[in-house]
Symmetry: D2
Subunit: 335 residues, 4 copies
Amino acid sequence: MIEAGIIGGAGYTGLELLRLLLMHPGVEISVVTSRRYKGKKVSSVNPHLAPFIELEYEDVDTEEIANRSDIVFAAVPHGSAMDYVPELIASGAKVIDLSADYRLKKEEYERIYKREHRDKEEREAVYGLTELHPEVKDADLVANPGCYPTGAILAVAPLVKEGLVSHVVFDAKSGVSGAGAEPSETSHYPNLAENIIPYQITEHRHVAEMRMELNVKVSFTPHVIPSIRGILTTAHVFLSTEETMTHDEIEEIYKRFYTSKRFIRLREGIPSLSAVRGTNFCDIGFGIDTVNARIVAISAIDNLVKGGSGQAIQNMNVMFGLEEEAGLWFPGLVP
Amino acid sequence: MIEAGIIGGAGYTGLELLRLLLMHPGVEISVVTSRRYKGKKVSSVNPHLAPFIELEYEDVDTEEIANRSDIVFAAVPHGSAMDYVPELIASGAKVIDLSADYRLKKEEYERIYKREHRDKEEREAVYGLTELHPEVKDADLVANPGCYPTGAILAVAPLVKEGLVSHVVFDAKSGVSGAGAEPSETSHYPNLAENIIPYQITEHRHVAEMRMELNVKVSFTPHVIPSIRGILTTAHVFLSTEETMTHDEIEEIYKRFYTSKRFIRLREGIPSLSAVRGTNFCDIGFGIDTVNARIVAISAIDNLVKGGSGQAIQNMNVMFGLEEEAGLWFPGLVP
Amino acid sequence: MIEAGIIGGAGYTGLELLRLLLMHPGVEISVVTSRRYKGKKVSSVNPHLAPFIELEYEDVDTEEIANRSDIVFAAVPHGSAMDYVPELIASGAKVIDLSADYRLKKEEYERIYKREHRDKEEREAVYGLTELHPEVKDADLVANPGCYPTGAILAVAPLVKEGLVSHVVFDAKSGVSGAGAEPSETSHYPNLAENIIPYQITEHRHVAEMRMELNVKVSFTPHVIPSIRGILTTAHVFLSTEETMTHDEIEEIYKRFYTSKRFIRLREGIPSLSAVRGTNFCDIGFGIDTVNARIVAISAIDNLVKGGSGQAIQNMNVMFGLEEEAGLWFPGLVP
Amino acid sequence: MIEAGIIGGAGYTGLELLRLLLMHPGVEISVVTSRRYKGKKVSSVNPHLAPFIELEYEDVDTEEIANRSDIVFAAVPHGSAMDYVPELIASGAKVIDLSADYRLKKEEYERIYKREHRDKEEREAVYGLTELHPEVKDADLVANPGCYPTGAILAVAPLVKEGLVSHVVFDAKSGVSGAGAEPSETSHYPNLAENIIPYQITEHRHVAEMRMELNVKVSFTPHVIPSIRGILTTAHVFLSTEETMTHDEIEEIYKRFYTSKRFIRLREGIPSLSAVRGTNFCDIGFGIDTVNARIVAISAIDNLVKGGSGQAIQNMNVMFGLEEEAGLWFPGLVP
């Protein structure tokens, strides 16, 4: 059994790791930390986890976490993970960081996140978009992708790889759980119900990951929708070629690119959020707009699973030589 | 492996059986019927089930269904199941009927459902409220309880058994999936969102099951809430005794009654729907109103799982000597 | 023009007063206070009110508010209104208090709200359930009813007045705006969506108003539903008489009681929240359960209008001899 | 008083005309037609309109409608309005057609809507985007714009007029009332809640109106969101100039263009749907993405008001020389 520790087990990312890892056939939770709930039973703070977990939240030092764990999931805010990672790695644990701290080159990170990077090492983290980065299997440190980049990159990577793309406009719609477990103006029911809230409309930080992975011109605008979970990404893909391609040709490009990638489901119709609810799937569909030389590609993910904790577990599976689907292979909650 | 057939595999009850049985370690789906979708792949009609099922919907005769199955789930409307059950039983299959056709005594059924019961046999069906009816294990025919009776009966059975109850007012609030997969006035988003819709406020048919099981005075009023899943039942329990009981005494009564019933979770706080979402749990909490000699007991279930297909599988597990939790033991989708 | 001041103009009660009073043909807003937003334009804090109001939020002393106003609406939390009312009255303003501070007898208030009542006078406030208290027209101080009591009392008052009622169980379902404009655990979208949350299930403070007005045995349990606005009250009315009454007889009792009460709409069918959305109407319907000698009466109101600010304005209209419907006579926002 | 007739008074467009016109100080409803509800009281089919309307639904011939009305609103489906308009005009009524039948040039209409245009006249309809078409005031026939074009065109018209725009990607999110009052797969609560549904992702018919009015390259993709009302349009505007413009310069362009257009509210922040709920306002905000020479302009309207019946009444006001705001001047329903 793999011993897995979770730093930050009371936020949505941590809770989703728990929900999934508790059912994982090859994993045992070794430690779950929370300063706020230290000493309380995880299942009394989160009744949906009863009676699946007996542990209490702890607040122990980093070395001890590493010693008790084969792998540690850092489910803490951006800017905080970098305080744990060096010591975890030094103590011999593998690490999957669900924050942004190791996704970008250090200078890029400091520019975008407007803070100093306190990790003094030049550390080789693998960007954990599992389908695109097989080198995850040899990684000691995986930087788990942001939720928006996951949906956006997967939607268009096959077209980009073929050199077809000159510019992509990603218009993304996210469930509000992406904003965290803490009540806020945006998550206040009377503000969000019967509404849709655009934010950071010209300069969201996640765009840096999209540009790093895709290397094409990227525009991005996110919105919060009245849904708990899910990100639907509408990718308006403008082609670099004048040549018209058929639906079959485009489909073939997607199929080839995603051969044997079992969490990617190419859909004949247009995907929406319900079929991926609670799962690690990324559903993708597309249409061709010949008037504008535009392909509209739509991807749907669960932001907390494929867009976060599920992909982290997928990465763990790859790192430890388990089946990539272990603990993640079940259908969505429909209806 | 148990071979399980599903009659009526395109409605919400049938789909939920599929979602759960496809993950069940001891079951293989042998046949799924649907007249409407005959010949279509189950997973192309229901993309959330891809790639978990390869079968097509079929429209085959009852005997063949029985021959291909160890157990058959009848997930068809009230009044229709009775056309399948006699032949299924005669052909040697065990049957779990998710309709109302075998829940009540025949005369009672005909009075309440205002139709003739066409099954000519006096058939011994076991009422499949699993926690209350251990005789499920020897049954060939289980009448799976209604969604409302499941939540209502479980909320108060321990108090009733102690002889404490003179009258219960069940005020129930159900997610709209209980009204089925077919679009209707009630399920029309602009009608249901930002609303709550009371219906059949004085005489819903499910009250007959509650009276049959509880044998006390029962009042019942159901409402549809803007939620996909779930039934929250508020049981206003009026006591037959003047004697005041403490919270601990009442809790002890519940604990004793539900000892080793692993799907019943007694909650310290007040339950709500989120912790049971997608699961077979029934969460129960209560408070004491000394002014009115009233106990307010609250139960929360997922109407499609414990209130339907999940309980049906729980019954199947018991009938076939499997672990009662097989295929049903996972935490709810929170958030 | 009546000069109207609002103390506490940034909460939902204050905002709803503004939304309605700004359209009122006989009223001019004289002053709106908010400590938090002092000096900011009301319409820049609340863009939906642009360009209807030019005023800024102020933080001025009570006497000045009184001097600038013919009537003052106290839209502040329970326990705070009593700090304003004595001076407002002394300075010659009429007052409508939307908090609980003057609804109950002083000793009752102190017992229920667990705080001292700091108003040293024995003050005669009229309980402003307009349809039941014509003496509002001569009042200087109106205690505007709670949202739950408004829906509950109106649902059953005609039956109670006829001496028909022995016991009522009010099971109420409220939109979350009743919990205020401040984000909280309950109003956090991932907690409330797809859910219904019972709270204070045996002892909510509002029950005191119901008992005061109805003088029968009352049980009460409230729930929060995933809706912004509205309270649907399901009144399970147990009759004191064995005699069966017909639907027509009951209807006649309601019609007679509510003759010329234009905000009460007796409905042939069962009311729900949509038809009253944004309005001062109270829709009422009922059914008879002969098995249990129970009448199920359903009332639907908008908690912020008839359950709060609208009723306050209705009271103001009566106090100043205006048409009772002035500023409040428009249909609901359907769909 | 203007006598106004409504053809098609039972759909959402017709009901919204009723909700608004019943409060309009200068209008009297002369006739409301519905084949389905002929002979029934409008207020018994639609309880939210009681007691504001005494009329019954009628099914009378076109000439009679014209004779009883100064203006007739055609609130019927596309392809049906053209059967009424010629006779209405011939009989001397003015007409506002809320369908698509007269929005486009005849050949364009036939190409896009894939049906023959049965009106044999070459008729001069004015495209009723009131802010952009002052010639509405002399029109006998106004073609009321589509809901999506209204939000889209208003969001970018000032930039287009300045010659700044080379290409716009409109990514629109609509409440489901746009799909009508009839229950459907899309409006089925379990399908839409917790979801967002893209449709006609490359070729929605409304794009023709956008191109006609804007005369720039337009890409358009619509989505249905879990909201009853509202359209939020995210306009990704790609500039034809390399020159960088400041926020103030862009704001100045908007302000100048919309001077004295009282239903357009330029917002400092980013608009969302709540502030326009139930109103005829169009809220607009924007941001500048210098990396991509992109302006992101966001518009928010209520699809049934500014995107339909409200704008129709605004046009009527202009046609009859009333104040443009008559009957439409009130704040949104917030929260």
